[in-house]
Symmetry: C2
Subunit: 335 residues, 2 copies
């Protein structure tokens, strides 16, 4: 199986992307296809002793890069020759089995929707991110659509259910609706409507409304919300975690005795920090797109890219896309 | 000055409410007026050695209580004889200078709006909560209105500015708009419109969009958002904090040596925990209501109630309501 890698996008691109994908090429049974500036990639690999002259690593040249500031539609307009656009076009044409990018989320989502296309019958594709709480929870939509119609929430719940069953092996994933109270009458009119629809859907194991306070303690496997609220949840969780960990560091560094005691809990604290390190979880799939597109975190290091490749392989192997297609409308893929 | 106290509402009512308000009566120059079931309050105070026979503590009987499950409008309908409803009516009639309740937020907000009334010209009152991040941030609306028109965001920013200037002494509080990206084009159409309006308002020191990731590290003094998103932010911050602190406890309790080292950092950790303990901050004012209404946290203990009374006194003394009225429409109060 061939994994297409956007070598040029992300905070640490291209070096960490190349390094991580080369690690994946050595570790997994797959072929890596870099898309990016040929000279840059070859020179960087040589300077940093990254082994890209393997039989299972190939390279396709592209001449531009989509930056974080570029508009989403640049991927199909002025930057249609970018590493992201070229990779998506190759994926759409069947010249690869999955595409991994750590680049501009808006552009990747727009490109995936316009170039690769949604699965037939899917109203809105979504970015699905696993948050490593007491019980890992799949948050979707975590940033693609700032608003969603009621029916789209139901599809998100269905797609999330299939994902958590296939990838995490949970027989009947529990689905929660993010809201500001447990009662079915809470939140906006739209959310009250969504609650009723989720409750009636026989393919969903709906657990009702979920509040932010209980979320980290493991109340559901799939959490559905619009991309605005989802993105706030994702970034705030990251912000509050890193803020608290920095405050705890201050406690340890306050004097010599606490500094000494820090030595004894160092391993435990590092493990804890690693648990909440996004690089362990790889990337976020764009659920609802007709071929596997994986969004790696913008700040991905080599380890995160390697994990995103592993995740892409799992995504292909488990046939999630076919299962979604069966649920939405027969077996056809692509609109 | 006379502080009206809803003695019957909240997770720890009436005992902790009575205890806290009695502490406030002893500590501050004010009169405490309990509203609640007379026999219950007198008996509880006597059983627990709470000194309520002071000259500055009085009691008004009310026969019912609004529960967390009651509908917001119950405060003006079937439970118009409740401690909350009676207290709000006394406040509206000038029989007290402020009202403190740890009860049902929806009912308190509905009662404050319908019985006490908004300041003339104020479109939507809001619950304003201080989150104790690196730099304390006033989050509003933190739960009253699930949706807001664009003009209401601007008023929230104005009222929040007045509050942080008056209570925290910040000369020109920085206002942020909660959003999913820094660029002015981010978020919903409504938020793009709000961005433009905030930018043009000469009474607001607008710093632009603020993301959840940076929020804990002190980027603004006032954060405006709708009550749905605000409530999610508030509860998620609480959830993620208590989850992480519980994980850290596990690290310390993993073996004898780490348990021993826990002793040395115990004080620092307790301080840290207290910093994030909502009882230190008292309650959340309902900004935009024509008289001071303070929402204490549902799980308030005596300390939190005492602090909420202190906060009510400060709210009265600083004349925030008059300042808001001057800004919105002349000097009139009440619609």
């Amino acid at each position: 199986m061939k994994i297409l890698i956007d070598a040029m996008s992300g905070d640490n691109a291209p070096l960490e992307i190349i390094r991580g994908a080369a690690m994946a090429a050595a570790a997994y049974d797959c072929e890596i296809m870099f898309i990016g500036d040929e000279d840059t990639i070859v020179n960087l690999a040589s300077e940093n002793n990254i082994e890209i002259n393997r039989s299972n690593i190939k390279l396709v040249h592209s001449s531009s890069v989509i930056s974080m500031e570029d508009a989403p539609l640049s991927v199909v307009r002025e930057k249609s020759d970018s590493s992201m656009a070229v990779g998506l076009k190759m994926l759409a044409a069947g010249e690869g089995d999955a595409f991994v990018s750590a680049g501009n989320t808006g552009a990747l989502y727009a490109g995936a929707t316009l170039i690769v296309r949604r699965i037939k019958g899917v109203k809105k594709a979504a970015i699905a991110t696993v948050i490593p709480f007491a019980r890992p929870v799949l948050l979707l939509d975590s940033g693609a659509n700032v608003e969603l119609p009621a029916e789209a929430y139901v599809q998100l719940a269905q797609m999330g259910t299939i994902y958590m069953r296939s990838i995490f092996g949970i027989p009947s994933p529990e689905v929660g609706l993010l809201n500001i109270g447990a009662e079915r009458t809470k939140g906006t009119k739209l959310l009250v409507e969504v609650y009723n629809m989720l409750e009636q859907d026989p393919t969903i194991n709906f657990k009702g409304n979920v509040e932010g306070k209980e979320l980290p303690f493991g109340v559901c496997d799939v959490l559905v919300t619009d991309g605005f609220t989802g993105n706030i949840v994702l970034k705030l969780t990251e912000g509050v975690s890193s803020f608290l960990l920095s405050k705890i560091k201050e406690v340890f560094y306050s004097n010599l005795i606490t500094k000494a005691s820090a030595l004894f809990v160092k391993k435990g604290m590092t493990n804890l920090k690693n648990e909440y390190n996004s690089s362990q979880y790889g990337g976020a799939p764009l659920l609802g797109i007709s071929r596997p597109v994986i969004k790696a975190h913008g700040s991905s290091d080599a380890e995160a890219i390697k994990n995103a490749v592993r995740q892409a392989i799992g995504y292909i192997n488990t046939g999630i896309i076919y299962e979604i297609a069966r649920l939405t409308v027969g077996d056809e893929l692509g609109e």
